[in-house]
Every structure is written in C-alpha cells, then in structure tokens.
Amino acid sequence: MAELTYRDAVAAGIAQEMERDENVVFLGEDVADAGGVFKATVGLLEKFGPRRVRDCPIAEQAILGAAMGAAMTGLKPIAEIMFSDFLAVCWDIVANEMAKMRYMTNGQVTMPVVIRTANGAGSRFGAQHSQSVENWAMAVPGLKVVAPAFPADVKGLIAAAVRDPDPVIVFEQKSLYSMKGEVPDGELVDQLGKARVLRQGKDCTIVALALMVHRALAAAEVLEKEHGISCTVVDVRSLVPLDTQTILSEVAKTGRLVTVEENPRLCGWGAEIASIVADECFWELDGPIIRITTPHIPLPSADRLEDNTIPSVERIVRELREKID
C-alpha cells in the first residue's frame, strides 16, 4: 500500500492502462510536455513517448472529435478537457456524437473513449473554471459518468473507464488533487456503477459525490460527537450506471435521505436519486428528503463568496440539525 496524491493517482491509472494496452493513447492541452496544468499527468510523456502522449492545440472539438474517431477505429483514447466548464465548447461531440453513435447505428459502432476533466470549486477560479457539471453529463443517454473522491478510486475508476467499451467521463474534483490517500500496490481496476458505504449510522443516510463526500464525512463526525445524530455516508462514485440498490438499502435502514451536491440546484444528480427513493422507498422514509446543493447561480470567485456558495461542513451540520430530529 502506497500513499499517493489524487493527482498522482491520475497518472498512475493512465500509466497502468497504457502499459497494459498499446492501443491506449492520451491527448489533451498541455498534458504531455507540461504534465497537465494540475500536474496530474507528469511523467507520462517520458514513459510512453510523444506517439502515445500528445499535446493538442486549444481546440476541444478537435480533441474530442479525434478521440472519438480513434475510438471508433480501434484505439482506446483518453482525452483530457482541462476544465469541465470547457465541455460546453465541445458538447456536440460529447452529447450528439459519442453518446448517440452506438444506438443510432444499431450497435455497429463501439466507442471505448474516456474523457477526464477537472471539475468543481475550491480554487477561487470564478464561474467559468469552477462549475460542477456532472449533472450535464448524467442527463445524456449514452454516457457513463464517474466522480472519484479518493486517490485509490481515481486510479481504479480510470482503469475501469479505459477498459469499458462505452464512453465514460471521469470528473476529477480539482481541489482534491493535492489530497493524499492509500492506494493498493499492483494492478488496480475498480468497477463502474458501484457506490460505497463509508460510514454506517442510524438516523440518516447522506449520499454525496467527490469533494462533497469529504464534507459529508466531516459533518457526520460533528453531528455524531456534538449533536448525537448518527449518519450513514454513501459515496455515489458513479452516476451512470447508478448503484440504486446500495442507496435504497442504506436509506431503508435509516429512514432518511440527504443528498449533498456540488452541482447547482436544478436537475442536480440528487434530484434523480430523490425521485428514485420517493418512488421505490417511500414507505421506509421517516421524514422528507433533504437536498443540500449549490444554489442555482453561476459560481462567484472571491474566497468568502465561494466558500458560502458550495455546501460546507457547517451548512450540512446546520441543515441536518434543523431537519433531522
């Protein structure tokens, strides 16, 4: 077991798959020579050479289009979109092309492509470099969507994404890049579509994703120690496929569902989970479903404003104290 940062786990996951399979290639802006603007891909160029690790122009449609064309014809590309906000400039390739191709062609085309992107707030970069957009991707049929919270999950889910024959978007939370965690030695391949129960409690089930998992865990500590409220915390990890069985079973045990979401309120991923729980687990609920999200606004940049916009540990504690008996 080695301790790796979240950013080193990115490079480790990519390297593991590139070593295994000659058809895995990696492309993006500033990813090769510079090792990525977040230094998450340092060393890949040196290890695998410029034929397989390629710097691209600032041209997101070209990057994802090229990744798609290569995926349709035998390669397994990993493409980096530097900030997830930039997905908007190449969303046609993601949502209209990659996602629809297999279905439209009656299964003729296979699309083993991975898009990695730095998502979310915490760096005071303002509204065009800090948004949480995982719910955009979740809304498009044909995309698989994961968002790891821990270094081991980063490595394992990147490996699983590369080996998956369908398009997968990996949302890396940019303020977690420096976080350290234990990563098992040797080959690590995770599974898409599996949530993980990180903590078991009696009073409510908090379902969270990426950075919000850490805040949910911290809030659960405070609630337990200071207020006698005992929380289960589920790390969703994968929005598509969605592990509804784990979520439903954990909600049934505590009788309460709380989602903690970094995406803006409307149609955030928690809304879908709330709907599923209301449909399938209604009689197990002891009280209303609680959604804690970023408000429905673009993200402000000043540290004080940003900190008070995305869900904080204090806000989770406050809302749960108010709403859970």
Binding site: P57, Q61, G65, M68, Q245
Partner: protein, 345 residues
C-alpha cells in the same frame, strides 16, 4: 490557385479526353453515378408516396463526387458523410435495400430504423457514419485518420461536407489539427453554391469557401469541377496516394450544384431564374455519358448499364417495401456495448 467559382464552372473542357483513366474505371464511374442518381430519384418518388417519413437531403446533381471517391477508395478506407449522405454511403457498396429501407423506417434498414436518412452508417463497408450536426464529423474523421496513422495501416479517411460547413468552428479546428499531426485525411467540400437556403457567397468572407481558406492551414488550394467525375477521380487518387505515403491531409473544393432544394421541405425558390437550367446542361451524368460515347463506348453498353441500374433500384425498392417495421424491442437495445440500455441496477 484561388480560381473563382464562376470561372471554374465555365472553364472550357479539354477537347481531347485524357486517356489516363482506364476504360473499366470509366465504365464503373458511369455505372456508379447512374446508380446513385436512380436510387436518389427513387427516394424522392417514395417521399411523394409518403413511404419515406421525416426529412431527407438529396444529392441529385452532385453524384460525380461521391462516385469518383467511391471508385478511387480502397475497401478499408473510411468515409465520413453529412446528412446528405445517401450517395456517399451507396458509393462504398452499402446495400441499396438497406439504404432505402432505412429511409422508409423498415427493419431491413442499414440501422434497423434507428438512425434514419441523416445517419446512414455501414462500418463493414468503411462508412463510419453520416453526421447531421454541421462540421462535427471533420474532427472525427481526423481521429480515424490518426488511428490509421498510429496503427500503421496506410488507410485514408475521406470526409465529405458542404460549403456551409466552412463557416463553422469545427472545420477550422479539424484542419489545423490534421495538418499539425500530418494525418491521412482528405476533406472534400462539395460546394453546391447554397448553404441550406442561402447563397454561400452572401455569408462567406472569401469567394471559394474551402479553397480560399486552405492557405491559412498551409495547404494547397484545390478547386475542381465537381460535375466532372474524371477530374474528381484524378484528384482523389492523387491526394489519397499522397496521404497514404505520409504526405498529410488535403482540402479539396469540388464545385457542383444541387438539382433539388436543401431538403424535402425546400422547393429551392430562392434560386435565380435560369440557374438550374444552366446547371442541368452540365448534369454530371449527361456530361459523362457524352464523353464515354466520344471515347468509343457503344450506346448499347451504356444503355445496359442504365437498365441494370434501374433493375437494381427496383429490386432494392421491392425488398425495402416488403420489409416490416422494426420490432419494438429495438428501442431498448444497443445504447451500451452490452446490448442494453440500463443506467441503474
């Protein structure tokens, strides 16, 4: 070169047809153009009978380009088409019943009725999709070319698009990218003078929408008569050979004319009086037929090709008409590689 569109299309033909193209190839070019024309006309007839629903974009008058590339390409080369892609798909040898069946929403359709007219695809024949978002397939074609380059297969990707595409961002991104990576991709702009309903020259900064932009990417400006199958064929062979040998991409502007409107909904009334008639005189198939006769092909040989093509279209029509609509279980198939559509457990 920077030759103006008007001067190109009015340029005098050489009086002595060149002999660099073999007789079998010429007959194949004639056969394929004839077949594409008759099939497209049949599609139009089937619309009028309400057997084809939705929209459809015909390439009547533009057949020389699809046919010339179809003949020039290797079976393992990749084709990327637009929503005006029936001809380009057929030109690679895709089943005609499959194309008409797809247009008619039948089970025998190339895509089992799940794609429709604008998304014809036949991966086994190298047709890697028809794309209905302007410009999207240019970077995708570059990606297929990258894959060929990476795997060392010397395949070439050919990407067809219209003049309107030259004003969208993906066109410029794909060109720059392909040149920088020296990819074996041929971008073929079929300039039919109109982006949808609007004359291209009224919305474009340069006279020749593709050829005049080539220099911006360090590419040769290539402008050809898109109604001359021989000229397109020569150009196709030349630049595909170069791309296969590692010489990188080419951007070809083939000037042509759409005999019908943009889509089913468009009668093409915006065209100036007499324009269509002038272009009908330069109908690529009419011109080619006359050339073949001058080159010594017999009238009966050509008439046989025409009769055989019509028979093929009739047969394909009958198969498509007899095919049932798709089974409803198709709805829940093939979102994912596991064959299903499940997004949760």
């Amino acid at each position: 070169m920077g030759v103006a569109v008007d001067s190109t299309v009015k340029r005098k033909k050489k009086t002595e047809p060149e002999t660099d193209i073999g007789r079998e190839t010429r007959l194949e070019l004639f056969r394929l153009q004839t077949e594409l024309r008759l099939c497209e006309k049949r599609a139009y007839d089937l619309f009028l009978q309400n057997l084809i629903k939705g929209t459809s974009h015909l390439s009547l008058g533009q057949e020389a380009i699809a046919a010339a590339f179809g003949v020039a390409m290797r079976p393992d080369d990749y084709t990327f088409c637009t929503y005006r892609g029936h001809a380009h798909t057929l030109a690679r040898g895709a089943s005609m019943a499959g194309v008409l069946g797809e247009l008619m929403g039948r089970e025998c359709g190339l895509l089992g009725g799940k794609g429709g007219s604008m998304h014809l695809t036949d991966v086994e024949k190298g047709v890697m999709g028809s794309y209905a978002i302007i410009g999207a397939h240019l970077p995708v074609a570059a990606g297929a070319a990258w894959s060929a380059q990476y795997r060392g297969t010397d395949q070439v990707a050919v990407c067809f698009f219209g003049d309107g595409t030259t004003n969208i961002g993906a066109f410029h991104e794909a060109l720059n990218f392909s040149v920088v990576w020296k990819l074996p991709v041929i971008f073929v702009c079929e300039n039919n003078l109109y982006m949808e309903y609007t004359a291209i020259h009224t919305v474009t900064a340069v006279k020749n929408p593709a050829a005049d932009r080539a220099a911006a990417y360090g590419l040769e400006s290539i402008l050809v008569d898109g109604n001359d199958a021989d000229e397109v064929y020569r150009t196709a062979v030349r630049y595909m050979d170069r791309a296969r040998a590692g010489g990188g991409p080419a951007l070809i502007e083939a000037v042509t004319y759409r005999h019908s409107g943009h889509s089913r909904a468009d009668p093409g009334k915006y065209r100036p009086e007499g324009e269509l008639e002038r272009w009908l005189e330069r109908d690529p198939i009419k011109v080619y037929r006359e050339r073949l006769l001058k080159l010594g092909f017999n009238e009966p040989t050509l008439a046989d090709v025409e009769a055989e093509s019509l028979r093929k279209v009739d047969e394909a029509t009958a198969i498509a008409r007899a095919s049932p609509p798709p089974a409803l279980d198709a709805i829940d198939k093939d979102l994912w590689a596991d064959g299903g559509t499940a997004w949760r457990n």
